[in-house]
């Protein structure tokens, strides 16, 4: 498996009157072809900013690239012109958003929106393409759905239509930002199965962003954990969940209620994440960390461990 996407020392800030919010702080991360990389983190940790920063979909201003590079198939996306970037969006990188209700244009039929994607990239869209795409995302009765407007579809169908749009031009990377959070619990499995299937059929690299570690545990090949704008731990999902290195990951996993554990208090993480307008010197987790040592006053870098794992911690 080769690296499809390579992010090196990426920093993204939001310009605000009361100080810049340093939402993504020197993040390095790889997504390989044919794998699902799960990006986990709590609200405000910067995971959505990171996901949307890759195809440069963040509105600038207030967002601002403060350093680093995003290399997709050998080209640094940050240095591309807007025309070159437009070619890559859709054709190289597909995006699935959290809210399928606002991701589709309400006044165009599903079929028209898919055809529009082809014409925007000056590609022919032979008859039958639309129906073929809709059946690939396992929408039954593709002909009827192609003629329908978004409001005529259920939430789950709509998200499938969004996915059809995202894969229409045959991208190699799919970024899915909380793709099931807005959907009913019962529909989530189906959407995630679909993403899994497409990954295998098309050899896609998938960046799956979620606050729900349980969901990622079942869907991600590798897991990256984000805290306060930084990646604190990366590794094969099963290994990270079974024995996390970083005290934050460990604390978070320990606090999750388990079925078999019975009654009794849950261990909790004390304190709050730091304010990203003023991130602390050194390790961002230091103030909450039970294992903090004087060395933590210096920012730890993401160091490699055995088995393709890495952790940013001085005292794991």
């Amino acid at each position: 498996m080769s690296d499809l996407l390579t992010i090196r020392s990426l920093s993204v800030h939001y310009r605000r009157r009361d100080g810049d919010v340093k939402a993504v702080r020197s993040v390095s991360l790889d997504v390989r072809a044919g794998e699902t990389l799960g990006l986990a983190g709590e609200s405000g940790c910067g995971k959505s900013t990171l996901a949307m920063a890759i195809p440069r979909l963040l509105p600038q201003p207030p967002a601002e690239y403060a350093g680093g590079k995003i290399v997709f198939e050998g080209r640094d996306l940050i240095s591309l012109s807007s025309e070159e970037l437009r070619q890559i969006r859709g054709a190289g990188i597909g995006v699935v958003f959290q809210d399928p209700f606002s991701a589709l244009n309400p006044v165009l039929t599903v079929g028209e929106q898919i055809k529009e994607a082809f014409s925007a990239h000056v590609r022919p869209c032979p008859p039958g393409t639309v129906e073929d795409l809709l059946s690939r995302v396992r929408l039954p009765d593709a002909v009827r759905i192609a003629r329908g407007y978004p409001h005529q579809l259920s939430g789950g169908q709509r998200q499938r239509a969004v996915i059809a749009l995202a894969i229409a031009l045959g991208p190699r990377l799919l970024i899915a930002d909380e793709p099931t959070t807005a959907l009913d619990v019962t529909l989530q499995g189906g959407i995630l199965d679909l993403l899994d299937g497409l990954k295998k059929e098309m050899g896609l690299g998938v960046l799956l962003v979620s606050h729900n570690i349980g969901l990622l545990s079942e869907r991600a090949d590798r897991l990256a954990v984000m805290y306060a704008g930084e990646i604190v731990e990366v590794g094969p999902a099963g290994q990270v969940l079974a024995g996390a290195f970083h005290p934050y990951t460990r604390g978070l996993l320990a606090s999750l209620p388990r079925l078999s554990a019975g009654r009794g208090k849950l261990p909790t993480l004390a304190g709050q994440p730091p304010d990203l307008r003023n991130p602390p010197e050194g390790c961002a987790f230091r103030a909450r960390c039970p294992r903090a040592i004087p060395a933590c006053g210096v920012s730890p870098s993401l160091g490699a461990k055995e088995g393709g794992r890495s952790v940013a911690c001085h005292n794991p």
Partner: protein
């Protein structure tokens, strides 16, 4: 505030549940057309019967659309049932005034950002609840100094000691807001707390804190719980009995440990399978 109060007024007959629901039916009309005529009905609850003993804790699990939230709202009297009876210690709920019911049953909602009025300060949000309780007890509303002292005592109860009473909900994190919502419900000194998805809008690391708080309060205040959630793991923490709902019906009910160990209904098994392997 008198934590540690026990249920001394429960009738001698232990079989009388504190709250019983008998054959509860709820139907929602479907309106359509320009005249908003009723063009159909959706049965949300098709005859649900459940009992909650004093000091007990009943979990209700099911997916959205199963009717579990509707049931919770009927217990808290935010909705009226279309059929069946809601009984408090054997007496139909209609015999209780709104205030009397409020001093027995309180509800904690899923999203504290929505359940706390954003335009009101803590002093007002908590103070009005304390004032209602004082009126129920036939007392005058406490004076400012005394009231502020009581509000601080309430905040202590939920682990928000020293929070400024002039602050507004948006100045707190979502976990702290849920603590405020719980404090507000506690101000009424209820016997039964209905918690509808109390942690599902919260971040993972905060969920454990709120679950711990709910466990603590149950012991200290001698509370009875109805905990509604789609997450079996959450329910298994808080509930000694669990009812599994599907399409407006209870498909399985029993001791939590027994249901988890040996589910009898295939739907319960489906819900169990939905819990990620590493959390089982």
């Amino acid at each position: 505030m008198t934590p540690g109060r026990r249920d001394t007024e429960t009738p001698g007959n232990l079989k009388t549940a504190m709250l019983s629901l008998e054959n509860i039916v709820k139907i929602f009309p479907v309106e359509g057309g320009i005249l908003r005529r009723k063009i159909g009905i959706v049965p949300a609850l098709k005859g649900v019967s459940l009992r909650v003993p004093a000091g007990g804790s009943l979990g209700i699990v099911g997916e959205s659309g199963s009717g579990k939230t509707t049931l919770g709202k009927i217990v808290a009297r935010h909705l009226a049932a279309d059929g069946g009876r809601v009984l408090w210690e054997g007496r139909p709920h209609e015999e209780f005034s709104r205030r009397e019911w409020a001093s027995r049953v309180q509800m904690v909602f899923q999203d504290p950002a929505a359940s706390l009025n954003p335009k009101l300060s803590l002093r007002v949000l908590l103070g009005e609840a304390v004032a209602v309780r004082a009126q129920i007890d036939g007392q005058k509303g406490p004076r400012r100094a005394e009231r502020d002292r009581r509000l601080q005592a309430l905040l202590d109860e939920v682990g928000l000691s020293g929070a400024p009473l002039d602050a507004y909900p948006h100045q707190f994190s979502s976990g702290q807001r849920q603590r405020l919502a719980i404090a507000r419900a506690l101000a009424l000194r209820p016997r039964l707390l209905v918690a509808d998805e109390p942690v599902s809008s919260l971040d993972l690391s905060v969920q454990a804190q709120i679950l711990n708080l709910l466990m603590d309060l149950k012991d200290r205040w001698g509370l009875t719980y109805i905990v509604i959630s789609h997450d079996l793991a959450v329910v298994s923490r808080l509930a000694d009995r669990v009812a599994v709902m599907k399409n407006g019906e209870v498909v399985e009910e029993g001791e939590t440990s027994a249901v988890l160990a040996a589910p009898r209904h295939p739907y319960t098994q489906t819900l169990l399978d939905a819990v990620p392997a590493f959390l089982r």
